[in-house]
C-alpha cells in the first residue's frame, strides 16, 4: 500500500436555489435585516477611470430570460490593480472591485455601475485586455458558472488577450464581448449571457 496523500476534498457545490436572495440580497427577498447589504458599491467614491454601466439578461436554453439569478463581479481598477494583498500596487480608498447583483423578478434584466478596468498583467508577462470576471448562480445551476466580460471598444487589446485566444472557436469569442452604447451621456455596455443554445456563452473552468 503506497503512502496516503493527506489532501482534503473540496466541499461539493449545490445549487443556490430560488431563494438565494434571502442570504445574499435580503432586501430583494422582501425584508430588511442587515445594517448594510454587501456588494452594492463596486468602486467607492474615489475610483479613477471612466464610469460605466453594465447590463444584460441571462437567457436559458428555451430563449427565455432567467429571473432568479445572482451574479457577482470581480474586477481590477482603472490601473489594472485588484484590491488584494497579493496583487502589487495600490487601489483608491474605498475601491473593493467586487459587486453583487440580481436579476429583476419580472424582466430578468440585471445591471450595475462601475468603472472600466484597466489592462491586467497575465501569465508569462502577457497583458490581459480589460475585463470583469463574473460568477453566476441560480436555481438549476449546480456549480457556479465563471465567465469574463470584455469590452468591444478594446478591439486591439482583445485581439492580443491570452485568455480570449485560448478559445479555439473564433465565433465563440464574441460571446464574451460587451457592446457599448451611450445613454444620457453615460457609457452602457450590453452583455447578455446565454446558458445554452447557438450563442452559448463561453464559461471557464478556472
Amino acid at each position: 500500500m503506497p503512502q496516503q496523500l493527506d489532501y482534503l476534498k473540496e466541499t461539493p457545490s449545490q445549487t443556490a436555489g430560488p431563494y438565494v436572495h434571502i442570504g445574499l440580497a435580503p432586501g430583494a427577498a422582501g425584508f430588511e435585516i442587515y445594517d448594510q447589504e454587501l456588494g452594492q458599491d463596486i468602486t467607492g467614491p474615489n475610483a479613477e477611470g471612466e464610469r460605466i454601466r453594465i447590463e444584460g439578461l441571462v437567457i436559458d436554453g428555451t430563449g427565455s430570460p432567467v429571473k432568479d439569478v445572482l451574479l457577482e463581479a470581480w474586477q481590477a481598477n482603472a490601473a489594472g490593480i485588484y484590491a488584494h494583498p497579493e496583487h502589487p500596487g495600490e487601489v483608491e480608498e474605498g475601491f473593493r472591485g467586487w459587486g453583487r447583483v440580481i436579476t429583476d423578478f419580472d424582466s430578468g434584466e440585471w445591471g450595475f455601475e462601475t468603472v472600466k478596468p484597466g489592462l491586467v498583467m497575465g501569465r508569462n508577462g502577457q497583458m490581459m485586455a480589460p475585463h470583469i470576471n463574473l460568477w453566476i448562480v441560480a436555481r438549476g445551476i449546480n456549480v457556479g458558472l465563471n465567465t469574463r466580460l470584455y469590452f468591444d471598444d478594446e478591439a486591439e487589446a482583445n485581439a492580443a488577450d491570452p485568455v480570449i485566444n485560448v478559445i479555439e472557436w473564433e465565433k465563440r469569442r464574441k460571446t464574451l464581448i460587451a457592446k457599448r452604447s451611450e445613454r444620457d451621456g453615460q457609457a452602457v455596455y450590453r452583455f447578455d449571457i446565454h446558458l445554452q443554445g447557438d450563442d452559448e456563452t463561453v464559461f471557464f473552468d478556472i
Binding site: Y7, T11, G125, N133, G144
Partner: protein, 246 residues
Amino acid sequence: MTKAPPIQGEFYQRDRRWHPPAFHKDYKTSVARSPKLSLISLENTASEITGPRFGHSDLAPGDNDLLTNYAQPEQSPIGERIIVHGRVLDENARPVPNTLVEIWQANASGRYRHKKDAYLGAIDPNFGGCGRTMTDENGYYYFRTVKPGAYPWRNWVNDWRPAHIHVSVFGTGFAQRLITQLYFEGDPLIKTCPIVATIPDPDAVEQLIARLDRNATIPLDTIAYKFDIVLRGRRSTLFENRLEGN
C-alpha cells in the same frame, strides 16, 4: 505600468467529477440552464487568484445569530434551537481565516421569508432566515439558528427537500468561490432528493451532512451540529509555474 505579480501558487484544479455536473435530468430546472458545450480550462491568472476581502466593519456583531437577528425584543423563533459550527479549511487542511461565510434557510415549518415562496407553512414573525460571519484566525465559525423544516417543491409530483441550510463561502481567491447546502445527519429525505442526487459520488454527499456534536451542545439550551467546509488548496512547491513567466 503595472508591476508583475509576485510568485504565488496556483489553486489545485477543481475535481469536476466530485462536483455535480451542470446537467442532471432528474433535477428538471438544470435541463434548460446547463451549458451544453465544455467549459474552457484556464490556468490561473491574477484575476482568479485574487478575490474580495471583507472586514468586521462590513458586518454587525449579531449577524450570526438567527435566533435574535430578526426577532422582536424578548421573543424567539419557533423550532429546534441549534448551533452550526465548524472550520473553513483548504485542501491542504490549512485553516482559511477571516473569510466571509453567509447562510440562508427556511424556518422550522419549511417556509422561506421570500416574496416568491408561497408554501402553506407559516411565516415566523421572529425569524428572518439569513446570517453571516467572518471566520476567526483559526478558520472557525459559528451560527445559532433553528433547524429548518423539510418542504415540498415542484420537480417530480411529490418531491420534498431534506432539511438544509444554504452556505456561501469566499476564501482568498475568486476561484475558491463556493455555494453549497448543509444537510443533517439521519434525515431520510437526503436519499430521495434529486438535488442531492446531482452529486455523483456518495462520499461527496457525506461531506455535506453535518454531524450531531454532543460536545458542543449546550445543556438545557441548544443542540450543536458540526460542519467543516473545504475550499480549494494552493500549490506551494519550489517548482511552481510562475504566473509572471520564467
